[in-house]
């Protein structure tokens, strides 16, 4: 039904609220661990995660099997199977959640679907083996609200992810969806809306942290026949996947926020620049746009107010630098994604030379809820200069990989140990990398800093888009720096010399060090080069590219010195610096290592100790993984 007025929206909303009332009610209560499903429960909803991570583990097939199973049991009329966006707890995916008793099943396989229906839905008994096992208490937890992973989180940008069906606009409407747009269009002037966004203290979530309200004000101030609202969905930071999850789990919030932005800055054209590598997010955004048009939230005369706005999708093609707004704009124009000097800022001269406002996905996802709940509510969360929450993609050597959202000012320790459940396999924490290729590595001593834009920058890293990769004692910090620099060198657009050549030289030096050919003067050279690149590169990518190197030199200087002076890599990552040997006392002469050695570098006769020829050895470590007797060591 096409809405022609705010009253029409209210009609749809009342109808839609019925669909969500069960989930809303159950979301508000914390279920007892012991309780299963009451006999005679009349309405059951099974939420099945349909995010990219869980889909990779066949969650679509789980949903199909659940559907088939409820049909078989003749209960299809009282059970709904709903595919939602990401629940965030990717480590334990695929996730299946049962409403009304809030049972949260983890690592479900398609084969488990039948048992869930038979035991849980039909008989009312939980399938214990699929419940989350708390690693500390070793007790099964069934309501996610009891889990440490969710305990400290406040989900604002992710409010609808894992809760609503992202391909059903009515479920979004039932959650205050398009209310902010209706209020803005009918009750406020653009200036008043911009004032609210400014008062909320919301800052750009893409990395640099520019105040969003101010950006909108700039874009509004320029007069032009055409203006553009651009959503930057070119999430290029490897290991960050919050924008993707928001688009997959709550695409309508982006559509609504862009439309509000259009109203505020005086634009009728929206463009979403999205990575072609995110097919599911593209699909969900397309569905959201189509439904929004059908319901009259996009197109001509939105809600009968006379305001026109529509959104088109533009595809990226795999270039990290296109996250930079001027590069992104060139890419949308069909050109190479090379950045240009600012000013002029896009707010003055952007897409096709017209005033353009570029916001990141997570930033936009915050807009509708700020406007419905109020700027004061939002600004009461967070720190003095960084308001609200931030979504982080927690990954690497951590027990609970996933997508989390915490108030600004939460410490790294709380994130890594309370929410993340600590370092994997009981290893020792070494560093956490934030901000992706533009950020840096933080150490033990930084764990208690309340994180916000300023504190992370002061610590030598940056917020970036919110990637957070945990590293343990087995990670070599020189190799990590080299890894990031390889990325930057590969992604540098080549336009300015400091980035194109400077980073290449830095990479050569790092390669030298990891191969055991470094010298002490190289460390100073790295620092000098890094400083020059920071000061002189043209765009954000170049100016921040030395951060991983600088932060590792500053925080792990000893490790660099060890590589150079002792030709040793304590984490045993730098192959060229390793020596594999067989302990003759432990070797039983089984020959397994020699058989599997790809370089045929191991010699010996059966039942006699074998030896490794160091000149043939390619240091792949295959022998060590094969040996049953722990006879092979590396140093």
């Amino acid at each position: 039904m096409k809405t022609k007025s705010v009253d029409d929206l209210m009609v749809i909303r009342r109808r839609a609220e019925g669909m969500l009332s069960l989930r809303e009610k159950c979301n508000a209560i914390v279920s007892e661990e012991s309780c299963g499903l009451d006999k005679g429960t009349e309405h059951i909803q099974i939420l099945c995660c349909g995010g990219t991570g869980c889909k990779a583990s066949e969650s679509a097939l789980i949903a199909e099997n659940l559907q088939a199973s409820i049909k078989e049991h003749g209960i299809a009329d009282k059970v709904d199977i709903i595919t939602t966006g990401c629940f965030g707890f990717c480590e334990k995916g695929p996730i299946v959640k049962i409403i009304p008793d809030n049972t949260f099943y983890t690592q479900v396989t398609p084969d488990d679907a039948e048992e869930i229906v038979r035991e849980h839905i039909v008989k009312g008994n939980k399938v214990e083996r699929l419940l989350y096992l708390d690693p500390k208490t070793l007790r099964h937890i069934s309501d996610s609200k009891h889990m440490n992973f969710y305990g400290k989180q406040i989900r604002i940008a992710l409010r609808n992810c894992g809760f609503i069906d992202p391909e059903n606009i009515e479920e979004y409407i039932a959650r205050d969806g398009y209310q902010a747009l209706a209020d803005a269009l009918t009750k406020s002037t653009p200036e008043e809306v911009i004032e609210k966004v400014k008062a909320s203290g919301l800052r750009g979530r893409g990395g640099a942290g520019f105040p969003t309200g101010k950006k909108w004000e700039f874009s509004r101030s320029y007069q032009s026949d055409e203006k553009y609202v651009v959503c930057n969905a070119d999430e290029g930071d490897p290991g960050a996947f919050m924008d993707r999850s928001i688009m997959e789990g709550d695409p309508n919030s982006i559509v609504e926020a862009m439309t509000i932005c259009g109203y505020c800055i005086g634009s009728h054209n929206g463009l979403i620049y999205i990575r072609a590598e995110y097919p599911l997010a593209v699909h969900r955004i397309q569905v959201a746009i189509e439904q929004a048009r059908e319901y009259g939230f996009l197109g001509k005369d939105i809600l009968g107010t006379g305001f026109d706005f529509d959104i088109e999708i533009r595809y990226g093609a795999g270039a990290f630098v296109c996250g930079e707004e001027t590069a992104l704009i060139h890419s949308m124009e069909g050109k190479r994604g090379e950045p240009t000097l600012k000013p002029p800022f896009p707010a003055e001269s952007g897409y096709l030379g017209k005033p353009t406002n570029v916001n990141n996905v997570e930033t936009l996802a915050n807009i509708p809820i700020i406007l419905t709940k109020g700027a004061e509510w939002f600004s009461s969360i967070g720190t003095e200069k960084s308001k609200g929450t931030k979504v982080f993609a927690l990954a690497g050597k951590i027990n609970n990989v996933g997508l989390i959202e915490v108030p600004m000012g939460t410490t790294l320790r709380e994130i890594i140990y309370d929410i993340g459940g600590g370092v994997k396999n009981g290893k020792k924490f070494k560093a956490v990398q934030t901000g992706g290729p533009s950020g840096g590595c933080l150490t033990e001593k930084h764990l208690d800093i309340p994180i916000d834009y300023e504190s992370l920058t002061a610590a030598g890293s940056m917020m970036g888009s919110g990637g957070m990769i945990v590293m343990d004692e087995d990670d070599c910090m020189v190799s990590v720096a080299k890894f990031y620099l390889e990325f930057t060198v590969g992604e540098s657009c080549g336009k300015c010399t400091p980035c194109r050549i400077g980073n290449k030289r830095m990479l050569e030096i790092l390669a030298r060090i990891t191969e055991g050919n470094g010298e002490m003067a190289d460390l100073q050279r790295l620092k000098d080069l890094a400083t020059v690149i920071k000061d002189t590169a043209l765009c954000g990518l170049g100016q921040t590219s030395p951060n991983p190197v600088l932060s590792t030199i500053n925080n792990f200087y000893d490790e660099y010195v060890e590589h150079v002076k002792n030709r040793k890599c304590r984490s045993k990552k730098c192959k060229a610096l390793l020596t594999y040997t067989i302990d003759p006392a432990k070797c039983k002469g089984c020959g397994l290592c020699a058989k599997d050695c790809p370089a045929s570098a191991i010699m010996g006769t059966v039942r006699k100790p074998h030896v490794i020829n160091p000149y043939e050895c390619i240091r792949c470590g295959m022998c060590m993984s094969r040996c049953h007797f722990g006879a092979i060591s590396v140093f």
Binding site: T52, G53, A56, S57, C90, E91, K92, G93, G236, D237, P238, G239, A240, F241, R244, S245, A276, E277, Y278, R314, Y315, G316, A317, G318, A319, F320, S331, E333, G334, K335, R336, G337, L352, A393, A395, G396, K397, V401, G402, Q433, G436, G467, I469, M471, D475, V480, F483, Y484, F487, C493, P598, C620, G621, M622, S625
Partner: protein
């Protein structure tokens, strides 16, 4: 590459794609996406056809094709393998997976096996960081990879 010619039908289809996008230079990236979707890669003669149709120099098309990592000028294998080298996969050992694949199928990154069965590429983050390290063959994602499983997985891949 230079003596390679597109068939007249393909030329027609590529021209039709350009026309669908109004022959606008601003649509170049969308046109390239569509062409690559249809033909698997963007050989030089195809780029010339597009350039002529949009009225821009072939160098400009080539400049865009080579700028973006998503576009390729070499045909992919029937089963394209992509190993994730995003940071999460990297710290969980995806380099070792890559090494093992190279060893098993005997090609380097960016190459295709002589029989056209496999091609090998790296990518940055498919977003399945909970399953790291991850590789993809075609559209299927293989999570929690270990080097010793590589050979078996690759041997099980059969042409339909």
């Amino acid at each position: 590459m230079s003596d390679f010619k597109l068939s007249p039908e393909v030329v027609k289809q590529v021209e039709a794609i350009c026309e669908k996008h109004g022959n606008k230079p601003g649509e170049l990236i969308n046109i390239l996406h569509e062409c690559q979707n249809n033909y698997g890669y963007l050989p030089e003669p195809m780029q010339r056809v597009i350039a002529a149709k949009l009225g821009i120099p072939a160098t400009q098309v080539y400049g865009v094709v080579t700028f973006y990592s998503f576009f390729t000028m070499t045909p992919k294998g029937r089963h394209p393998i992509s190993v994730c080298l995003g940071t999460a996969c990297y710290v969980r050992g995806s380099e070792k997976i890559l090494e093992e694949i190279k060893r098993v199928i005997g090609i380097d990154v960016g190459e295709t096996t002589p029989d056209g069965k496999f091609s090998l590429d790296c990518l940055r983050c498919v977003g399945a960081c909970g399953l790291a390290p991850v590789m993809m063959i075609g559209k299927k994602v293989y999570g929690r990879m270990e080097p010793q499983n590589v050979r078996k997985i690759l041997e099980e891949i059969q042409d339909d």
